[in-house]
Assembly symmetry: C2
Homo-oligomer: 184 residues x 2
DNA sequence: CCAATAAAGAACCAAATAGTTCAATATTTC
DNA sequence: GAAATATTGAACTATTTGGTTCTTTATTGG
């Protein structure tokens, strides 16, 4: 039956993702990707059409894995979920910082249209999830309006991860923000 | 006395800035900069050390021109200034979108250390200005804490400018956010 | 062993990259 | 016109880029 593959698409994505995550699209070379994945250039080209294709695949993979964390679907729905989302949403493990998706927004000008679609779809989903959680708390202001604010604040937190600032200060800031929300 | 220069450092910065603003550092080539400024490569190299040097100079120039707008120093200080800052801070004229400074945060990994310093210094200044305006309104929560929140929200607004979304929805969002702030 | 499949690696390509140097040319003041 | 300065354009490195193709070498099932 022929020689079996010794790398899976998943493995490649898992290893390529952090590179794009940290360096973005323009500043990531094929050599970087070879090094990171341990897969030869020819191997990458048999699995993916080109660099753009691989990038979008990584982005999709990232968003799926984020969705699986279920930060906004844990029962009971409410402010607590929103707070957890803000605190633990933007990862900070080692090299990659902030949110891969938010980071990518800066590069839309040079990214394939597909990337734009993937990101906006996910943002729409996030906003629905946020609104559902907020609705459970019966605030006076419209839940979707509050959800919009939360998403912008979240986006801000994500890019601020590129700054070297303590986690404690970020946590305190989020808690203050939540105080404001709960009064709505 | 010799031939006088027919381009000033200022003019070059004014024309090079939008290019970096839109495309970032990695995706801007010297050719792009030649085209945009109308100044020959050799000319650019007599005025600036290298691409990094020119980038940082553009960033400085941007922040100075932003400061001159005085959005946060108009009397009387207060919520109104904060609202104006959020609404009119991130520019949207033509190609360049959002805030050049916030955009740059995504690229710190490949930018000279100087860029990091310039950005963080300016953020510290912004936060002081915000806090002063907030203090004038005598809120219950600490003004500096509120200022932190505003700055994060602002950063979020900036990168969201990379999305094609109506200005009206952004205005409404800001107004809702201000409602929340005023209750603090 | 044989057929089938996969991977590795090398050898390419054309284009673009940042960066440097230098001679030619232009424009000013005196 | 002469001296001083500015600007341009060309020539030139050396490296990297994304992308392609082909041969060689593994590794499997039957």
């Amino acid at each position: 039956m022929g020689r079996p593959k010794n790398f899976s698409r998943e493995e490649v994505l898992e290893k390529a993702m952090p590179v794009f995550w940290k360096h973005g699209f323009a500043d990531t070379s094929l050599q970087d990707l070879e090094r990171a994945t341990g897969v030869n250039k020819s191997g990458l080209y048999t699995e993916f059409r080109d660099k753009e294709d691989l990038f979008v695949a990584c982005l999709r993979h990232y968003l799926e894995s984020q969705g699986k964390r279920g930060l906004l679907t844990t029962e009971p729905l409410g402010w607590k979920n929103v707070e957890t989302f803000l605190k633990n949403g933007p990862l900070n493990k080692g090299e990659q910082q902030g949110c891969f998706s938010v980071n990518s927004m800066r590069e839309f000008a040079i990214l394939p249209d597909e990337a734009y679609g993937v990101v906006t779809e996910n943002r729409a989903l996030l906003q629905r999830l946020l609104a559902t959680n907020i609705e459970a708390e019966r605030p006076r202001m419209a839940p979707s309006a509050i959800a919009e604010i939360v998403l912008s604040f979240f986006s801000g937190l994500c890019i601020e991860r590129n700054l070297k600032s303590g986690k404690t200060s970020s946590t305190r800031k989020i808690e203050n923000f939540m105080t404001a929300l709960r009064s709505l």
